[in-house]
């Protein structure tokens, strides 16, 4: 007698909670072979706006945490990912139709990418900032700070776990908070990733994940006045120029779709969502 499995309900991840879409909509997620896998929540404009509110609320705590603390929290994400490796391999394999070896390679790379970025948390400021030898009695220091709320269109169509990790982790390292639109076709590993995030000491709202139609949700995030930056990594097949134009109204920092493999670990990805702050401290005359 075979045991009847208990399937998971996949929902959104907003402000540390797992709500259904307020719209009540879902869409079918199918395996590569056409089998039914799950009904994923189909996020609406309202969900996107709720996610931005949650992300904004989380900025001061996350960016105000010590770099060592952020590094440890992010490293713990990698630990928990590793612990659920088998589950992610199954999900990626079923959804993307990969061989077992390819699915394992993707999950391993996702874990290692988290570890790589986690280690940058307390080093990036040293590498990107510096003291400036100005002419006058001033101690002058340039230090990178997080841009704020970053909206991300995760890579679409493949690399459903690694692609999301590769765009979310570099934004988090410096203290940004993120609203990510998951791979529309393969959203399940993204939602499982949020279960890892929810149990890894990452404060609520630091990462918010929406599943559904990227074409439908992205324009609301691109034009949202409380979003500071837009990563269009997975928007190559969308009308991404229109998204960039919408983002121009509030002068968002925009990273256009990247010709290179998005999963390449990159200091530039961290830098893209930081602002350089320069402080002039007056020295007294003795």
């Amino acid at each position: 007698m075979t045991r009847l499995a208990v399937p998971k309900t996949y929902k959104l991840f907003i402000g540390g909670a797992f709500p259904r879409s307020e719209s009540g909509r879902t869409y079918e997620v199918l395996a590569a072979n056409g089998d039914f896998l799950a009904n994923a929540a189909k996020a609406s404009r309202k969900d996107a706006r709720d996610a931005v509110v949650a992300a904004r609320k989380a900025v001061s705590g996350w960016s105000g945490a010590t770099a060592y603390n952020r590094g440890q929290v992010l490293y713990r994400v990698a630990e928990l990912l590793e612990g659920r490796r088998a589950q992610f391999v199954d999900e990626v394999q079923a959804s993307e139709g990969l061989s077992g070896r390819d699915a394992e390679a993707q999950v391993d790379e996702a874990v290692d990418t988290w570890v790589w970025y986690a280690g940058w948390a307390d080093k990036f400021v040293q590498v990107a900032g510096n003291a400036n030898p100005v002419s006058g009695p001033f101690f002058n220091l340039s230090v990178p700070e997080p841009t704020g709320v970053v909206a991300v269109v995760a890579p679409q169509g493949a690399l459903s776990l690694l692609g999301l990790v590769a765009v979310v982790a570099p934004a988090l390292v410096t203290g940004n908070t993120v609203v990510a639109i998951a791979d529309e076709q393969h959203p399940l590993s993204a939602i499982s990733l949020t279960e890892v995030l929810a149990t890894s000491d990452l404060p609520a709202g630091v990462v918010n994940v929406l599943t559904g139609s990227a074409a439908e949700i992205a324009p609301w995030l691109a034009s949202h006045a409380d979003v500071n930056a837009l990563d269009l990594a997975g928007a190559a097949e969308l009308d991404w120029v229109d998204l960039q134009i919408a983002a121009a109204d509030t002068l968002k920092r925009v990273l256009p779709p990247d010709g290179r493999d998005v999963a390449t670990r990159s200091l530039e990805r961290i830098k893209a969502f930081t602002e350089m702050k320069t402080v002039w401290h007056t020295k007294s005359t003795l």
């Binding site: 510096n130 030898p133 002419s135 841009t147 190559a236 120029v241 990247d258 010709g259």
Partner: protein
Amino acid sequence: MTFLDYAPAPESRSILSLRSSYGLFIDGEFVDGHGDGFHTVSPANEEVLAEISTADGHDVDLAVQAARRAHDKVWSRMSGADRGKYLFRIARLVQERARELAVAESLDNGKPIKESRDVDVPLVAAWFFYYAGWADKLDYAGLGTAPRSLGVAAQVIPWNFPLLMLAWKIAPALAAGNTVVLKPAETTSLTALLFAEIVQQAGLPSGVVNIVTGAGETGRMLVNHPDIDKVAFTGSTAVGREIARSVAGTSKRVTLELGGKAANIVFDDAPIDQAIEGIVNGIFFNQGHVCCAGSRLLVQENVHEEVVDRLKSRLSTLRMGDPLDKNTDIGAINSAEQLQRIRELSDIGEAEGADRWTADCVIPDNGFWFAPTIFDNVSTSSRIAREEIFGPVLSVLTFRTPAEAIAKANNTPYGLSAGIWTDKGSRMLAVADKLRAGVIWANTFNRFDPASPFGGYKESGYGREGGRHGLTAYLAPQSAAAIVAPADTAGKTTRTKKGSAK
């Protein structure tokens, strides 16, 4: 004659010999523009100084072509050491011709000669000197070995610091191996054209620096030219938005240095004498035509009255008048149009209930003038607390706690600069951490240095000018050119399964 009266001490104009008309500077030569020319006037007395050409689309195209040739064939291939030597030459030539440039700047812009002579022009020389030394050290800029130049830069600059903004744009671009087409502001083209003469004296290869004059339309054609690789703009947030829209979907790199509404925060333990001077310098330097001006004074409630009283008595000693007079503190407003905007917003401030106080100054009969003005008891929602006035107008608000000061300071879509005045170092550091602004001055204000990055958060734009960070705005890593380019192949390799499950 009271102790506040000064005998006139005008700087001589004889050091400057202006031509009656100036053409465009393209491919190393002055040429006539094909658009309708215009007059540039002295805002202090409306005297016509010279006739300036307008570049039309054809002229802009010629300038971009010249810059492209110079980049591909000469400048980007030249050794960094030689590029550096040319920039050192320019720095020295600016120093040699410093007084002439200062007189021209004050005539054309209306700023006091003591500012153009002691701030603008020395900083111009310093900017070229600083970036000259970078030209053969690009490997140390932080982008890995052998970073590459971007190509041809379109640079559009404002009228508030005409020659200084030119230096901010041209020096790092050239050091990094780019060539430029620069458009000065319509009302202040003169010193850019004098700079073109310096470029000739320096023997710079033809086409490395091109200068096209004209109004907004010329700038628009330049920015939108398809053969431009980099756009650097300083000016209003409205135009910045337009540029950000127009470059969407292209591979053009952009830096925008836009408007501001800086908070200048004065705590009750601030060194009061220095703070008063700093507040005055923060908003009345250059007639308040400063994007990073400390236009919102946030003063702790228990010292509010004292600070405002002392400000008023200090402002009463400022001398407004002839920009070429060495005693002048406050010069002329740059244009009739800008004067109109300042008047309009000031009237709105009054209508919205703030208390207006204006220094008792004699306003000259001709030219464009606005006496230093303070609005007290300004509410956070008032337009004079939210919009950039870009004139000698200070809005005063109060706060009780550091948290309130920070919340009010950050309550703006802008994020260019901020000031903090306190004797307590630990509080200053904590407040500086919380302010969302790109440049923060602690117990000082409006300091600029070529080694120090400058630029904003939020709607004050993106990218930095100055320092190592300003250099990297004109460079791309050798290996990762694609990070900024919208690649048409994006996603192709990872997209093979798309649709297979539908």
